[in-house]
């Protein structure tokens, strides 16, 4: 969190800099199966975040010594494009990217039935093309869709969203300026059916009460995103059946 300056992030009408209410998500657009060669892929636009996720596998573990006898090895790389940020970012992986790769993997791995694929690897690649705060969450949301698109058995889709605190108030889904000038950020990844949080990080300053309020707010937003994820999958995989009249059914039976 940046140091607080004299910037008002919430106006007199209780609206935020981009006109959102305190508990309102930024616009989210999801698309499944956007890459030709990957086994599974997805694209997300979350606010001004633009992120591509691709999944390869299950495929043979390489090098072989990394293989596990009773499950697939899940590998994950979160990476930001050099042009994705205000200042050019070096393409070499930063400490932040290495840490995020780890926590993102740990949030997706509980959803993957990796015990079905011993001695293999499942590789997840997340490329941030444009960053606008909340990239790890948008990355997880898209990567979970890419896993589903690859046909990998999942216990559940993983949805992710952050809540935080700006101008002393708990709000949902911080934008870039809110993240920089705000007081706290709490990204989570959530599986609604199992009521399970697989990623939880926090920085800033919050009281115990604010924290539990932010937690509830982000959990609810994850449910909304989860529904969007299911819709995105349906759009890709829904098969249009030709109108079947009663006579035709009778014909088939005969």
């Amino acid at each position: 969190m940046g140091r607080k300056e004299e910037v008002r992030l919430i106006d007199d009408n209780g609206l935020r800099v981009d006109g959102r209410r305190l508990d309102q998500l930024r616009p989210v657009k999801l698309e499944v199966g956007v890459l030709d060669k990957a086994d599974g892929s997805a694209y997300i636009e979350h606010g001004r975040n633009k992120i591509l996720a691709a999944v390869f596998g299950p495929r043979e573990a390489h090098p072989k010594h990394i293989a596990l006898a009773d499950r697939a090895v899940v590998r994950c790389r979160y990476h930001m494009a050099p042009f994705s940020t205000d200042e050019r970012k070096s393409p070499a992986p930063s400490r932040r990217e290495l840490e995020l790769s780890k926590v993102i993997r740990e949030s997706l791995e509980p959803s993957i039935m990796s015990e079905y694929f011993p001695r293999s690897t499942i590789d997840i690649f997340i490329e941030v093309l444009q960053a606008d705060a909340g990239t790890r969450c948008a990355g997880i949301t898209s990567a979970s869709l890419a896993l589903a698109d690859a046909g990998i058995p999942l216990r559940e889709l993983v949805a992710a969203c952050a809540a935080g605190k700006i101008d002393g108030k708990v709000v949902l889904d911080l934008s870039d300026i809110e993240d920089k000038k705000g007081d706290a950020d709490l990204p989570i990844a959530f599986m609604p059916k199992s009521n399970a949080i697989g990623l939880l990080q926090m920085d800033g300053s919050m009281t115990e009460q604010e924290l539990s309020q932010a937690l509830e707010m982000s959990v609810n937003a994850c449910r909304t995103i989860y529904d969007m994820q299911r819709d995105a999958l349906r759009r890709k995989y829904h098969v249009e059946h030709e109108e079947t009249g009663p006579e035709e059914i009778a014909e088939v039976k005969a």
């Binding site: 969190m1 940046g2 140091r3 990394i66 596990l68 499950r71 697939a72 090895v73 899940v74 590998r75 994950c76 790389r77 400490r95 932040r96 290495l98 840490e99 790769s101 780890k102 926590v103 993102i104 993997r105 740990e106 791995e109 509980p110 990796s114 690897t121 590789d123 706290a184 709490l186 599986m191 199992s194 009521n195 399970a196 949080i197 697989g198 990623l199 939880l200 990080q201 926090m202 920085d203 800033g204 300053s205 919050m206 009281t207 115990e208 924290l211 539990s212 937690l215 509830e216 959990v219």
Partner: protein, 271 residues
């Protein structure tokens, strides 16, 4: 690329023993579920560092050293000193720690400790400005894991805090952007005292301050760093398991309680 870790070098039978004992509400080292291991902290062990602290948490040993040097400020904070935290899993600490640059686990420890210090605004960085936009003091916190018996994040966080409160620097005066050192020494300007508390989930029960064997069977852990005003300033979940929102609230609550004693213990060492 971050990959699933190899299974721990703990026999299946041992794993089961650790889990079974916890299900009975006990622990292999005979602690209660919410008991911390004995903590000792020694300040100023390394004289050449500006500040240092060695923490013994059970058999876990972590040494942290603070070095203060001048450097160039970041563009977006021209009036502030700089904090950098680094953690090394030294090969002498554990059979599988390897030489080379820090791996993702070491990076995670450094990041979590860094966030605690940074977000609680523990160091008064504005007092470390020499010439705005040109020259500031850089506070290097280097964490050295010497013996790994579990819960490195907490041990590292407390060692770092100890080293910071122990740190002194040459008193200085700035005139026309020129720095002039005085003969006397001053303490590093501190405003807050963050303490991390890590809780592990093993099966369903939760235990605070997991030892190595417990870490090897845990499904996941949650670190909650709190400041002197009982505000939460950093959190990190780790491991392949999951928490329910209710479990998280419960852990936050107990971590706030627990951190008070430990903070007092560390600060009582400062003269």
């Amino acid at each position: 690329m971050s990959a699933t870790h190899q299974p721990p070098p703990l026999a299946k039978l041992e794993q089961k023993t650790v889990q079974d004992i916890i299900l009975k509400g006990k622990r292999i080292d005979e602690r209660g579920p919410l008991d911390y291991r004995p903590l000792t902290i020694m300040l100023g062990a390394v004289e050449k560092a500006n500040g240092s602290a060695e923490v013994h948490l059970g058999k876990t040993r972590v040494l942290a050293g603070v070095k203060i040097q001048s450097g160039t400020p970041f563009e977006d904070t021209p009036n502030e000193g700089i904090l950098t935290v680094n953690a090394e899993f030294v090969p002498l600490a554990y059979p599988t720690f390897e030489t080379g640059p820090p791996d993702e686990d070491a990076i995670e420890v450094a990041c979590v400790v860094d966030r605690g210090i940074r977000e609680s605004k523990a160091i008064d960085l504005q007092k470390l400005c020499i010439d705005p936009g040109k020259k500031v003091f850089v506070v290097f916190v280097d964490i050295y894991v010497l013996d790994h018996d579990g819960n490195l994040i907490d041990a590292a966080g407390m060692a770092a805090l100890g080293a910071l409160v122990n740190a002194t620097m040459q008193e200085f005066e700035v005139k026309n952007g020129e720095i002039k050192y005085k003969d006397s020494k001053m303490a590093l300007p501190m405003k807050n005292y963050p303490v991390p508390i890590t809780t592990a989930k093993i099966g369903n029960p939760i235990v605070v301050d997991p030892c190595l064997e417990e870490e090897q069977v845990m499904s996941c852990r949650l670190t909650v760093t709190t400041d002197k005003n009982d505000n939460v300033c950093a959190m990190q979940k780790g491991g392949l398991g999951v928490f329910s929102p209710e479990e998280i609230k419960q852990i936050v609550s107990s971590s706030i309680q627990k951190s008070r004693d430990l903070r007092e213990k560390i600060l009582s060492k400062v003269n």
